[in-house]
């Protein structure tokens, strides 16, 4: 059984160029990159994942001698669409965009194209409509993460059982990607797993804790598995489970995303089934390097994924937590 999926390729972006490791810009981009102006529309500044990704981005930029203007959307796509235009207005050599919505940035991307500014999407994908409007999409794909989570869950439960989904903020791009990917993959696998209920806990541990108490009351021991859009919320469920007087050993299968430290600890102890690691540092660095390549006129692939690793008990000792 293949628990470790080194993902370079997968379904949703099949139409695009599928392979490549995206590091080609590293060597020869460095000289001509000196002095480039890059505008980076980040998801947020105060966030467990975004902060280290941003930091890595900035660090890589310094190494290349690239100047970065960082705008933070604070998880508000509405702000982000405006910030994208601001970026275009500054006429930089390249733009890196962290989309929080699959659609909303398209008109901005059109303008960027008109202005001949290369755009690299970091971390989250956009709709098919946006294809051709950006130069490249680097980073993990939230949809892919959902897909991988579904595969792990499917295997862990032997293809049948009852689960709940603890999703992030309703309407948020990451939530949508990770949830849809999961649900669609279950269907594709012909899985008998039944999703009893989906709740939105806004990526908030306390919210997840409160909702999990109610979920445990409602479904209790009928639960075979829990899929949380991130490890923080999965942690909320774990706390609610022990709080209810139940044993860690009886814990339903838990699959989270992000590869947080405490998820790793849980996997080591055996009550946490799996998490999907994506490295924020790698995410940020890769996006910067890709945009540098694109801005210096090199050819870049339209899809440059960063590796996603499913961490289970088998490989937990070999992997590093993302944060």
């Amino acid at each position: 059984m293949k628990h470790v999926l080194r993902l370079g390729t997968l379904t949703a972006v099949g139409a695009l160029a599928l392979t490549g490791c995206g590091n080609d810009g590293n060597g020869n981009g460095a000289e001509s990159a000196e002095g480039l102006e890059i505008c980076y529309v980040a998801a947020a500044e105060s966030h467990a994942y975004a902060s280290p990704a941003n930091a890595a981005f900035q660090e890589a930029a310094e190494e290349h001698g690239v100047h970065v203007t960082l705008l933070s959307q604070e998880f508000d796509a509405q702000t982000g669409t405006d910030q994208l235009r601001t970026c275009i207005g500054r006429n930089p050599d390249g733009i890196v965009l962290w989309p929080l919505d699959p659609q909303a940035y398209i008109p901005g991307l059109v303008e960027a194209q008109d202005a001949d500014i290369p755009v690299v999407l970091i971390n989250s994908p956009m709709d098919e409509d946006a294809e051709g409007l950006y130069t490249s999409f680097t980073g993990p794909d939230t949809y892919e993460q959902g897909v991988m989570a579904a595969e792990v869950m499917h295997e862990e439960l032997g293809g049948e059982g009852q689960i709940v989904i603890i999703a992030g903020q309703a309407g948020n791009g990451t939530t949508i990607g990770r949830t849809d990917g999961f649900n669609n993959m279950l269907e594709e696998l012909g899985s008998e797993i039944e999703v009893l209920q989906t709740v939105n806990a806004d990526f908030d541990q306390q919210r997840a804790l409160e909702l999990s108490r109610d979920l445990i009351s409602r479904h209790g021991d009928a639960l075979d598995g829990v899929y949380a859009n991130d490890d923080t919320m999965a942690r909320g469920f774990v706390d609610a489970w022990t709080e209810s007087g139940r044993e860690l050993d009886d814990m339903p299968a838990i699959v989270g995303i992000n590869g947080q430290q405490d998820a790793f600890a849980g996997i080591e102890e055996g009550y946490y089934t799996a998490t999907i690691v994506q490295s924020p540092e790698e995410d940020g660095r890769l996006a910067l390097e890709t945009i540098v390549s694109a801005a210096t006129g090199e050819e870049v692939d339209t899809r440059i994924p960063i590796p996603l690793t499913v961490v289970t008990q088998e490989n937990v000792a070999d992997e590093e937590p993302a944060f």
């Binding site: 804790l209 409160e210 109610d214 709080e243």
Partner: protein, 328 residues
């Protein structure tokens, strides 16, 4: 400057029926929810689930106690709650490695408390509009908190304290619920049994008469805001200790949750009326409702349809009764 036309209509008798309605609406609502909940879901009327309701209430409940004082003193509302929760939580965990959990917690509460003094000074003594003042101080305080921790998640490392807080120490009731109940009882006693509590009512009911009665009006108002900030900070500390993680957005929405509870409890935004049990009753009603909706699989994001209608309905009933000279 008072002229006849601006005076409220003189109320000469209390209508018993309305008065009774005003008092029983909340308990009846809670009772009705208990019945409905039991009918809709088997798991609802279990000790376990009802205990969960209590646990879920606890964190916001501590803030609700403070917000009740703000409402009764006619201070409108405190919108700086999320910021106070955040600094309480962030400081606790970021100081934990160097100073230990308890000292960290103390510093967290003190910091929120200090920020609350600023609220109190501006609103009580300078008489600035509370809504815009707390909006501004909240923005500033949260900004400083974010800048201080560089804007990331802070992890804690004190599972012992965590399990102590969430563990069921006495009669199967978790410590955190006991803490909340202690705060609620303390707040109730402060409001109903002490001189200060009486000042709060008087200041909200008629500030001029209160001032003319040699009551320190400015202090009373300032103290209500200081209390709310301190309790919010305390709530943030508990939140951080039970979750063992904290991030700047940790308190988002708590201000509106607290306002909702207080309003549904029938505490008047116009001041001078209400009490802590009522506000807690409002919180219980809201929490039960949310619990029932989750147990019955109603999508989380759509629950606001019911909540919004509940708030409007509760206040409309309150205003109606008040105009009839009932429960006021």
């Amino acid at each position: 400057m008072t002229s006849a036309a601006t005076l409220p209509p003189r109320v000469t008798e209390e209508k018993t029926a309305n008065k009774i309605l005003g008092w029983i609406a909340l308990p009846v609502g809670i009772l009705a929810l208990l019945v409905i909940g039991s009918l809709l879901s088997e798991q609802f009327f279990t000790t376990r689930n009802l205990t969960n309701v209590l646990i879920n209430m606890s964190i916001v409940g501590i803030i609700v106690v403070g917000m009740t004082f703000v409402f009764i003193v006619r201070g409108l509302a405190d919108l700086s709650v999320p910021a106070m929760v955040a600094i309480g939580a962030l400081l606790t965990l970021s100081l934990q490695p160097s100073l230990g959990s308890l000292v960290g917690a103390l510093v967290g509460i003190l910091a929120a408390s200090a920020a609350g003094l600023i609220n109190g000074l501006f609103i009580g003594y300078f008489r600035l509009n509370p809504v815009i003042t707390t909006l501004a101080t909240g923005t500033i305080v949260l900004g400083i908190a974010q800048a201080a921790v560089g804007g990331v998640i802070v992890y804690g490392d004190d599972p012992a304290l965590q399990s102590f807080l969430t563990g069921r120490i006495i009669l199967g009731i978790p410590t955190i619920v006991l803490i909340f109940l202690a705060v609620a009882v303390g707040g109730h006693l402060l409001l109903s049994q002490t001189i200060f509590g009486r000042w709060v009512y008087a200041a909200g009911s008629n500030p001029d008469a209160t001032k003319a009665s040699a009551v320190p009006l400015n202090f009373t108002k300032a103290a209500a805001f200081w209390m709310t900030a301190t309790l919010s900070g305390f709530s943030g500390v508990l939140l951080a200790l039970t979750l063992q993680t904290a991030r700047p957005g940790i308190g988002t929405g708590y201000e509106f949750d607290a306002i909702t509870a207080v309003v549904v409890g029938g505490v008047s935004l116009l001041g001078g009326f209400g009490n802590v049990p009522r506000a807690i009753g409002g919180l219980l009603l809201v929490t039960l409702l949310s619990n029932i909706m989750v147990l019955n699989g109603i999508p989380t994001a759509s629950q606001g349809l019911v909540m919004g209608a509940l708030i409007a309905g509760a206040v409309a009933l309150d205003v109606y009764l008040r105009r009839r000279g009932g429960a006021a």
